[in-house]
Amino acid sequence: MNDEQFRAEVRGWLTTALASPEFACLVGKGGTGRAHEFVAERMAWERRLGADGWIGLGWPEADGGRGLPWHRQVIFYEEYARANAPGRVGHIGEQLVAPTLLMFGTPEQKARFLPGIAAGTELWCQGYSEPGAGSDLAGLRTRASLRDGEWHIDGQKIWTSLAHVADWCFLLARTEAGSDRHRGLSCLLVPVRQPGIEIRPITQITGTAEFNEVFFDDARTLEGNVAGAPGDGWRVALGMLGVERGVSNLGQLIGFQREFDAVLAAARGNGSAGDPDIAARIADAWIALQVMRFTAEEALGGADQEGGVAAGGVAAGGVAANITKLLWTTWHQRLGELAVDVGGPDATLAGPDYGLTDTQRLFLFARAETIFGGSNEIQRNIVAERGLGLPRG
């Protein structure tokens, strides 16, 4: 099968699946700033994706994946975005946990956890950030100790996406008493639905909730549920942060193009496109979107072959994903600002129960994007240190 046949297969499957009575309601749902929508239906959608073999495209075939090269994965994400398919609830398991288990997991762990992720039946969340450990992750204080064949966990995590629907949590905790910083941490695999875990949603600036606080009060998991060696959690945790190379970002760009098109249509519709300042910002947004696409393509290509042209040595430092994140988050934030400015005075009104338009959601939610997943300040530190070799402060 060549790439175009593969693309046709993906497109055909998506078209059929999204036309079915069960999933037709999901088109365009659960995206930016709307992760709270249609959660049960999106969980069912995840299971359908899994049943038909669309989860784990890049994993080795021996581990239940399809062993596809990155550009085939990109094709999937592009078609997924083009079809306006719903925001995923299984991506943390598929794109973060599974690759980490493939790198660090035991055969038993892979056999236990990968099938549930691939089937879309077991969802994951990621327990890294804490109230006192945001950018400074090594300052985390959630602790776990081993007693009678079980880890006993106490502490608190925050900004945990999807904790309220997840079955499992990939948890970074301090397992050696008296340790500090990067030593004595372990990555635990913890079942979420148990008496020792309490989840509270965090209402954010959109008035909706996509993140949670998670409280651990003598929560338990089996002794064997640790990824990598106990005490080696920092290396495993960083390995997880390194697996995101931005494959999904190229698909995301198609969603961005759709959002841009909506802003352009709105500007033409209300005449603001005739304003020279708005017209210039529209042109700049479009140009920057193309630049971002070229950069992401080059960064991804360069990640496969060392020393890609685009980054001129910067990609060789493994910072392509950091560069991509800095670009897309700031672009998306500016697009949100342009969108409400195009809207004009009407963009200052909200519906009943703080009902917001897509434009307003984009405008507000994009403020999160330069903070989550490693704030842009942290991304700049990484580019400076690993990409440019500048000394640490």
Partner: protein, 337 residues
């Protein structure tokens, strides 16, 4: 992504530029390395490679601001080799000039202003701001939508003093000068020129960042290398993002420029030419300006290289489409306005 041949070419040109500076590099660059004939067919003395290879050499010579008319001469070789359909296989309309370009004996410059008119195979009018014009023996000239080749001996060339002393400019006066019609359309030629200016700017910007980062690692203040201060590290990281985006964009435009000419590739070049030039030169300008600031006082001196890059960046920004003009052009051609 460079092919292995392009990677070898890049290494050879970079090596050459590290050993040869100044206008006297021209003879060996054209002769020994054969760079001016990269896009000239073999039957006219070139190597029959193409615009993608010219781009590699333009980027590398641009990194060091090599003061020779390489970009314009090599691009003239490409443009004058094309027939009306963009093919280079048959008899080239500019055949009489190509051996000279390939050997380096003939240096070329582009006069793409709109004030020259053609009548009966002769050109009349004045073209200001012709980059590399002072030392050119051949001009590639726009008259209306068409493109012509004119020998400098048939024109009046007035060299100008320039802000950027590494690249000349001239005002060229045509007074019924005999002209050879080129196959390539004027608009395509100008877009190709924009692509090459984009590539050159991306290379120069990368060089400015390299030099600046190197300085921040060694300059000590307050008892530590100043590159350890986050205020400076973050600015360098932002510049690195810009440089990566500029190179990616420049080479996307090069791919469009080097594709076989078709309605689709022409439409793509028409957008990516101005788009890449605008983005890459703006990045170059920003990196060059930051280079001076991040070097402190030394960056303000005549002796330091930073000012040459600042002046090149501003010159490239103001010729062949200002940022505002190019934004309008992209907007029109991409159907945004």
């Amino acid at each position: 992504m460079d092919s292995s041949e392009q990677a070898a070419l890049r290494e050879a040109v970079r090596d050459f530029c590290g050993k040869h500076a100044g206008p006297q590099a021209w003879d060996r660059l054209a002769g020994e390395l054969g760079l001016t004939g990269l896009a000239v067919p073999e039957c006219y003395g070139g190597s029959g490679a193409g615009l993608a290879e010219v781009a590699v050499a333009v980027e590398e010579t641009g990194r060091v601001l090599l003061p020779v008319p390489y970009l314009s001469t090599a691009l003239a070789g490409a443009v004058l080799s094309e027939d009306g359909a963009g093919r280079t296989g048959g008899a080239a309309p500019g055949a009489e000039f190509l051996p000279g370009i390939a050997s380096g004996a003939l240096r070329a410059a582009f006069a793409l202003g709109s004030a020259v008119t053609a009548s009966g195979g002769r050109l009349t009018g004045v073209a200001p701001h012709v980059l590399d014009g002072a030392e050119a023996g051949l001009f590639v000239v726009r008259a209306g939508d068409a493109l012509f080749a004119v020998r400098a001996a048939d024109t009046v060339v007035t060299p100008c003093g320039t802000l950027d002393q590494s690249r000349s400019q001239a005002a060229v006066s045509f007074q019924g000068a005999p002209a050879v019609a080129a196959g390539c359309a004027a608009e395509r030629a100008e877009d190709l020129l924009r692509v090459m200016l984009a590539v050159e700017s991306a290379g120069a910007a990368a060089h400015c960042l390299d030099v600046t980062v190197g300085y921040l690692k060694t300059r000590v203040q307050f008892g530590r290398p100043i590159g350890a201060f986050q205020a400076l590290r973050h600015r360098c990281a932002d510049l690195a993002v810009e440089v990566a985006s500029a190179r990616a964009t420049a080479y996307a435009a090069v791919r469009a420029a080097a594709s076989p000419v078709s309605p689709a590739s022409s439409a793509e070049l028409a957008v990516l030419g101005p788009l890449a030039k605008r983005h890459c030169v703006d990045v170059f300008w920003h990196v060059a300006a930051e280079m001076i600031q991040l070097h402190g006082g030394i960056g303000f001196t005549w002796e330091h290289q930073a000012h040459r890059y600042l002046k090149r960046a501003k010159t490239s920004q103001l010729l062949h489409g200002t940022p505002a003009e190019l934004r309008r052009l992209v907007s029109q051609r991409a159907g945004l306005s």
